[in-house]
């Protein structure tokens, strides 16, 4: 069974009198534990699509099912709860909470979203600190660590709740090549370890090569689908 199923999605934005079609006739399926990338030029609709998959927005037309739920049918509170249990987010600007330490940032979704008991919480946070190699920095605040380290913390935060799906919109855009590559490698390693589906968008051709499934967007349309290295799961 597929984790994500998009059928003929359309997304319009209304700007004053003008209607901008950001996505049109987009259909695809993504299996669990995939490592997927959406690529395309600026304005091609990557962010729009990731927002839809992430239940942050609703399609104008078509159906989008994520982990069995119809995205369009969730109300505000339901979609927040859905995101909290099923989806992890990694942002281009890392978006760590500045007043919380590395440890507390990773703990946040367990504490404030899922109300996980303390013992379980500590186990999860320590495991992820270990997995992303940030144990030594756990008591530092976000402004005391580098960009690459911040993104590693963000990956740990996205994974700590054991979501089915992690979405990353241009996760490497603010990182140098070497660090970007390491972040993607880490995400892949996490996929292998936790069997979580990763979907990221990027401009960077080198980074794209790291994906196992690549979708290309252009002007809001999905062009074709590349399979790389036959490593596809599911």
């Amino acid at each position: 069974m597929s984790l994500i199923k998009a059928e003929n999605i359309k997304k319009d934005y209304q700007v004053g009198e003008l209607i901008i079609t950001a996505l049109d006739r987009v259909s695809f399926e993504i299996a669990p534990a995939s490592f997927v990338s959406f690529v395309g030029p600026s304005g091609s609709g990557k962010t729009t699509l990731l927002n839809l998959i992430g239940c942050l927005d609703k399609p104008t037309k078509g159906t989008l099912k994520v982990a069995g739920a119809d995205v369009a049918s969730l109300d505000r509170k339901e979609s927040a709860a859905f995101r909290g249990t099923n989806i992890g987010f990694i942002f281009q600007d890392f978006n760590l909470i500045p007043v919380l330490t590395v440890y507390e940032n990773i703990e946040y979704p367990l504490l404030m979203v899922q109300n996980t008991p303390a013992v379980e919480r500590e186990k999860r946070v320590m495991a992820l600190l270990e997995a992303v190699g940030m144990i030594e920095q756990k008591d530092k605040y976000p402004d005391q660590i580098s960009g690459g380290q911040k993104q590693r913390v963000a990956i740990a935060r996205a994974l700590v709740t054991n979501p089915k799906l992690v979405l990353a919109d241009e996760p490497t855009a603010n990182l140098d090549h070497k660090t970007a590559y390491m972040v993607i490698e880490l995400m892949k390693k996490m996929r292998d370890e936790f069997r979580t589906t990763f979907i990221f968008s990027t401009h960077d051709q080198k980074i794209v090569g790291e994906a196992e499934i690549i979708f290309t967007l252009e002007d809001g349309n999905l062009l074709d689908r590349h399979l790389e290295g036959g490593k596809q799961n599911g």
Binding site: R76, K77, R83, D93, P109, M112, V113, R157
Partner: protein, 412 residues
């Protein structure tokens, strides 16, 4: 919940200067209100004490209709022996009453054998009177502090104007109820400092002497001044006593007595009320200060953290939790202001007390201001500040909780 507080406090510490500024503004407001309330309250209480404890008493009972014509001290509205007995029977049974003092009030002529003038007199039982208005003796500035039969305490202004001294003999002449005139010699036993308000320039004689001057056949009194154990229970007790007294009816089935608290008898009550009104407005000002400053800070806090709000909302933080996060921040700010304000306020009040500021009230000079900090005021002010802080943060917090995650995340 503890974590929401942790985040709130860290966010407050993130903008130290702004937090400090807002907290100090609230602190200053609280200090100001606290000092104002305790100084004006102490002033008020002291004045009330002066008035009730040196002449009026806490409450008075008269024959129905007396107070309406109290200015001419009508002798035909006195209480007779039967009524007095019924009244004393009721008063004696009230555990709330410490003492009561029956008085005969009348107007007469005062002569030093050279000149004659008017005088208003109270015929009293000295022991009962001093138990009911204990500060009366403190008004005796010359002469004996005990009033015996044949003696008279006269007001200072009269003593000065008529050039009489302690030990001089004077004559009091009064019109009796039947219209005839009678006179009696008295020895000036003491000179009374004048006090503000009605009765403040009255003379005092023994009630038996008063009966003699007025040629009364039986026992008669014009009023009974009552002193309570606990002045704070004035209103409650006055209701109770009023209920009891209104059941005492005459042959025509009309009530015999009327009861008035000091508030109805002294014009100073209006000044006391004005102090209360002023206190109310000062409190209102504090509320405005807290409301505006906290709202201002919280609006800024929400605006500065739009992207953070977008992040936590995207991650799945429920709107209610985001709302709480910001409300708690305002709440903490309010608590800090209230606590520091209370501490500083108490220190300021203690310092004012140490300065021993003196002031004059009416004829009384050199009263020393002693401001009390009422724990009740501390609680009311603190609770008000905290509640207003919460209310002030609600609107910005609500806005934060309603933000669309994508819009918030795109905010630069």
């Amino acid at each position: 919940m503890g974590n929401l507080f942790k985040i709130a406090i860290r966010n407050l510490l993130r903008y130290k200067r702004r937090t400090l500024l807002t907290a100090s503004l609230i602190t200053v407001g609280v200090v100001f209100v606290l000092v104002f309330i305790s100084v004006s309250g102490s002033f008020k209480n002291m004045m009330i004490g002066q008035i009730t404890d040196s002449m009026i008493g806490h409450m008075q009972v008269h024959r129905k209709g007396y107070v309406a014509s109290i200015e001419n001290l009508p002798l035909n509205l006195n209480l007779k022996a039967g009524a007095i007995a019924r009244l004393e029977n009721i008063l004696d049974k009230q555990p709330e009453i410490v003492a009561y003092s029956p008085r005969i009030k009348f107007g007469g002529m005062f002569s030093n054998f050279v000149e004659t003038t008017n005088i208003r007199l109270n015929g009293i039982y000295p022991d009962k009177e001093l138990k009911s208005v204990p500060l009366l003796t403190s008004r005796v500035i010359e002469g004996k502090k005990i009033l015996d039969k044949g003696g008279i305490w006269i007001p200072a202004l009269l003593a000065k104007g008529m050039k009489v001294k302690v030990g001089d003999t004077i004559v009091v002449v009064a019109t009796n109820k039947d219209g005839s005139v009678n006179g009696k010699q008295f020895i000036v036993a003491g000179v009374l400092e004048s006090a503000t308000g009605p009765g403040g320039r009255d003379g005092y004689i023994h009630i038996d002497d008063a009966g003699e001057v007025l040629r009364m056949e039986g026992m008669e009194i014009s009023e009974v001044a009552i002193r309570l154990k606990d002045f704070g229970k004035l209103n409650a007790f006055s209701k109770k006593l009023d209920g009891l007294l209104s059941k005492e009816l005459n042959q025509q089935d009309k009530p015999i007595f009327e009861l008035h608290t000091w508030e109805k008898l002294s014009p100073f009550y209006n000044i006391a009320r004005m102090i209360d009104v002023m206190t109310f407005f000062v409190k209102l000002m504090l509320i405005a200060i807290v409301l505006i400053s906290i709202m201002n800070v919280m609006i800024m806090a929400v605006y500065e953290r739009i992207r953070e709000i977008g992040t936590i909302a995207a991650i799945g933080t429920l709107p209610g939790k985001i709302l709480n996060m910001f409300v708690i921040e305002g709440f903490c700010l309010g608590i800090v202001g209230a606590v520091i304000g209370n501490i500083v306020g108490i220190v300021v009040i203690l310092m004012l007390n140490m300065l021993k500021i003196s002031f004059n009230f009416g004829q009384q000079t050199g009263l020393i201001l002693y401001a009390n900090v009422n724990p009740y005021d501390l609680v009311v002010i603190s609770v008000t500040v905290i509640i207003v802080s919460i209310i002030a943060s609600l609107q910005p917090a609500f806005k934060a909780s309603r933000m669309e995650p994508i819009k918030a995340l795109r905010h630069v």
